[in-house]
């Protein structure tokens, strides 16, 4: 498939693990990384939306990507990590199993992801990268988080 327009030619990516898989997102979208704390649940929201937290006075929604991508049974302990993202003018958090690395990747070293009909639509993938024999799934986090299926952002269609 085509590389998504606007894909960075080269840049730094934050990689994190979800189950056994390793994912990478544009580091410029990351505001901070913090431990998981109790959330306030939101009624009648999809299961992957854990709820909202108070981030220094700002109400921030928290999404558990493990639930969203169906990657095993999510557990919450002192090692569970929340990555706070800055997307557009919004602040939101994603729960992941752990943050592993910051890597540099060139656009050339990205391989297009094959169409699999997986839960994670290839629309949201920048491609697959390889670092030291590890495969890293590069996610267009902005496109993913603002998508209708994440139900994080009010859409006019609703």
């Amino acid at each position: 498939m085509d590389i998504v327009d606007g894909a960075p030619t080269s840049g730094e990516y934050l990689t994190f693990t979800l189950g056994a898989e390793e994912y990478g997102i544009d580091i410029l979208k990351v505001q901070e990384i913090r431990g998981y704390e109790a959330v306030t649940r939101i009624a009648n929201a999809p299961a992957f939306i854990k709820g909202v937290i108070n981030l220094r006075g700002v109400i921030v929604p928290i999404v558990d990507l493990r639930i969203k991508f169906n990657l095993g049974e999510p557990s919450y302990d002192q090692f569970t990590v929340v990555i706070i993202l800055n997307i557009g003018k919004r602040v939101m958090g994603i729960v992941v199993d752990g943050v592993s690395d910051v890597i540099q990747l060139n656009a050339d070293s990205l391989h297009p992801a094959p169409e699999f009909g997986s839960i994670l639509d290839t629309r949201y993938l920048l491609g697959l990268g390889t670092v030291e024999e590890r495969m890293i799934i590069m996610v267009d986090i902005e496109r993913l988080m603002t998508s209708q299926e994440m139900a994080l952002v009010e859409t006019t269609a609703a």
């Binding site: 939101i42 009624a43 937290i53 700002v58 109400i59 921030v60």
Partner: protein, 767 residues
């Protein structure tokens, strides 16, 4: 320059507001001289400012306005109600012009002309309908010789000259002897006028620099000696010093610029400048003797001249005997006085020096007051204040967390720490209060616009209404202040149109022909209560019921008054027979109600036939803070706005009835209310056993309902945070807040929660 414009705009709108306020409070029969003077000063300041900044359209209007005011304050004319109307209209025109200069739409040119005409006619007074001989009682018509030198560029354009002459013709009869042209910019004319020299100079100051104007009593007439003879004895004393001669020449510049044109420009800085420049002025004069006398004073730059002279006015005259004396004796060439520019000062000085001094002194005071007034407030962007409020909110939460943690410490070992935390909590609370108070504005901000509304409307409706306001100092959040104005205006118009009767009806009912409309604001337990009361005819129960039936609303005669009054809030409801341009279209009350409920408030009506109507609006103190009751449901905390809570009680199984099998109702004090278990609505593991939970009876837009919750946790003031900023609207919730322990709690949107509850009940019934 633009920042000066801004200052001018602000000052002018203040002056206009002030003027309007004074006019409205003016007692037409016995106007207080003080008020008239204050109005005059306001008009005068606007004129000065607009002249300085080149807004000649405003100068033109204020000029005629001021002319009339001046005659009023000198008691040459008696104040009449139509004058007040004209003044108010002129104020509106000025405001429109001001808005135009600020980038608004152009002011209506026809209106400007009309108001100028109106004011001029009023100023001419009925006593003197023919302009050529304005000789009203108290003022003597005088004949003066006027000599003005037009700068070549002005003289060249005939327009400026024509304007000047037209302006002059408004205030005096003219006999032009030499019309200025490009070759010779000199204007010589003989004036017949009742105005004083100061007024004339004032009037002319728009067109020409004051140094270029010379006024003197006509020389070839007996009574023209008037001014001269006063001086004559002193004139015999020869000039002691050439320097003093020069000094005198500058005098005319003093009288006018200090008075009419420049003092505005000097603005707040005048008092300090005055002392300083007083010295400067004297320094200048000491150097002066060599300067050629007559042209010299014309070349003093307008900026330097008036400042120096202002210094003289303040510095010199109070000690008049020493300094004023020589000046008065000095005119070196008395024979030239009639024509030479700047020769009149001798007369002027002897004219009424005492009064001149008094006036300058007074202006000085006014300026000081104004200056200190503007220094005590600053304009800050609302976002900055909101940011501050947010930060303090954070601080309060942090402090609460600290206090909680410290609670577990050994009070003896950690004595100092605990004392510090105690102090911190007190300071934080004070800080929060002060910060919140920044956004608070007094109700007078809203109330102050109503005297005008009432006055205009009462006039239009031929009613007599007296307006009273109480509790203007009650403070309310800025956001609320802005949004409450329109609903209040609606209510006031309603009261005037439908409430207060015409004077003859009132007399027939044995009431004072003058109706009273009262606006009152007060604090009542964390809420602000605003009342609009009239002593009119009250609501007509029968009429309302009849209209309601016509409109097909479900009504019956057994309804309580309270329920009947509520009908008024139905959309499109109006009992007025005639739709007037004031009200009666029936778009009012439902909008009022919706607006006020949108602000988290409530409206209630009370009325008694023949005695009047009272509308009570209850508002939260601020939009940012909500009084809430926190309830626990399935481990989560929800905030129920306290304004919606009617009562809370422990239900017993006997009170619960089912309807059509599954929809549950609860029987409370003779009423069957829908029973809504919040845990079910929000899919939470709440308490199942009804006897172990509690019921909170709430009132939403569509009536009451009983919300079933696990427990009541307490009552808090919570800071409202937006959920939509980072997330989206959550059904059944109006927002979120952060509790003392740092956790987020959602704020229930009661009306929406009831709808959700009823819908889930139906779904369950259908399943």
């Amino acid at each position: 320059m633009s920042q000066f414009f801004q200052v001018f705009f602000e000052e002018t709108s203040e002056h206009l507001a002030n003027m309007e306020n004074l006019l409205l409070n003016l007692d037409v029969d016995t106007p207080s001289l003080e008020d008239l003077n204050a109005i005059f000063r306001a008009a005068h300041s606007i004129k000065g400012g607009s002249g300085t900044f080149g807004f000649t359209d405003m100068t033109g209007v204020t000029h005629v306005l001021e002319g009339l005011l001046d005659r009023l304050r000198k008691e040459e004319l008696a104040l009449r109600p139509e004058m007040v109307d004209a003044f108010l209209a002129a104020g509106d025109i000025l405001r429109a012009q001001l808005e135009h200069h600020q980038g608004g739409p152009e002011a209506d040119a026809g209106g400007i002309e009309e108001i100028r005409d109106r004011l001029t006619r009023l100023a001419a007074g009925d006593a003197a309908p023919s302009a050529p001989a304005p000789a009203p009682s108290g003022a003597r018509a005088r004949v003066l010789d006027l000599v003005c030198l037009f700068p070549p560029d002005l003289a060249d354009s005939g327009e400026a000259v024509a304007n000047f002459l037209a302006g002059l013709a408004e205030i005096a009869a003219l006999d032009i002897r030499h019309r200025p042209d490009a070759a010779n910019g000199l204007l010589e004319a003989r004036l017949t006028t009742s105005l004083s020299d100061a007024e004339l100079r004032d009037a002319l100051a728009f067109y020409l620099a004051p140094e270029d104007i010379s006024l003197a009593p006509a020389t070839d007439r007996e009574d023209a000696a008037y001014g001269l003879f006063d001086d004559a004895p002193e004139n015999t004393a020869p000039a002691e010093d050439e320097g003093y001669g020069f000094f005198t020449d500058v005098e005319p510049a003093r009288a006018d610029p200090g008075y009419g044109f420049f003092h505005q420009e000097l603005g707040a800085s005048a008092p300090p400048l005055a002392t300083e420049s007083g010295d400067g002025a004297f320094g200048l004069f000491e150097d002066a003797p060599g300067a050629p006398e007559s042209p010299a004073h014309q070349e003093i730059s307008p900026a330097g001249g008036p400042v120096a002279v202002e210094g003289q006015g303040y510095g010199l005259f109070p000690d008049a005997p020493g300094a004023g004396g020589p000046a008065r004796q000095s005119p070196p060439e008395p024979d030239k006085q009639a024509t030479a520019p700047g020769a009149s000062p001798g007369r002027r000085l002897s004219d009424k020096p005492g009064i001149e001094i008094a006036r300058s002194g007074r202006r000085d005071n006014d300026k000081t007051v104004a200056a200190s007034g503007s220094d005590t407030s600053i304009r800050v962007a609302v976002e900055k204040v909101d940011q501050l409020i947010n930060l303090v909110g954070e601080l309060v939460i942090t402090q609460a967390m600290l206090a909680e943690t410290a609670g577990g410490l050994d009070p003896i070992a950690a004595e100092k720490l605990l004392a510090g935390i105690e102090l911190l909590s007190r300071n934080t609370r004070d800080l929060q209060e002060s910060v919140m108070s920044i956004r608070m504005l007094p109700m007078s901000m809203v109330f102050s616009r109503f005297p005008r509304v009432v006055r205009d409307l009462a006039g239009k409706l031929n009613k007599q209404v007296e307006m009273r306001t109480l509790g203007e100092n009650t403070e309310l959040d800025k956001g609320l202040i802005e949004k409450i104005t329109d609903p209040l205006t609606h209510l006031v118009r309603n009261s005037l149109d439908h409430g207060i009767e015409t004077p003859d009806k009132r007399v027939a009912a044995g009431k004072n022909p003058k109706g009273t409309l009262t606006l009152k604001a007060s604090h009542q337990g964390g809420a602000v209560v605003i009342e609009v009361m009239d002593d009119g005819g009250g609501l007509n129960r029968a009429r309302i019921l009849e209209k309601a039936r016509e409109r097909g609303l479900a009504v019956n005669d057994a309804m309580s008054d309270h329920e009947v009054w509520q009908l008024i809030f139905a959309p499109g409801f109006s009992t007025a027979d005639v739709v007037t341009d004031v009200s009666g279209r029936g778009v009012g009350m439902d909008v009022v109600k919706r607006n006020i409920e949108g602000l988290g408030g409530k409206v209630e009506l009370e009325s008694s036939p023949g005695f009047g109507t009272r509308t009570v609006i209850r508002l939260p103190l601020t939009l940012a803070i909500l009084d809430g009751m926190s309830v626990g449901v399935g481990g989560e905390t929800f905030i129920v706005p306290i304004t919606t809570v009617v009562e809370s009680l422990q239900p017993s199984l006997d009170d619960i009835r089912t309807l059509a099998g599954d929809s549950r109702m609860i029987h409370i004090r003779g009423e069957y209310l829908p029973f809504i278990a919040l845990a079910e609505v929000f899919g939470l593991p709440g308490v199942e056993d009804i006897t172990r939970g509690l019921v909170v009876v709430v009132e939403g837009e569509e009536g009451r309902a009983a919300l079933f919750v696990d427990e009541l946790l307490g009552q808090h003031q919570v800071v409202i945070k937006s959920l939509e900023a980072n997330y989206r609207k959550v059904p059944g919730m109006s927002g979120a807040t952060i509790m003392g322990d740092g956790r987020v709690a959602l704020i229930l949107d009661v009306a929406a929660a009831i709808r959700l509850g009823l819908a889930s009940g139906r779904r369950r019934a259908a399943a």
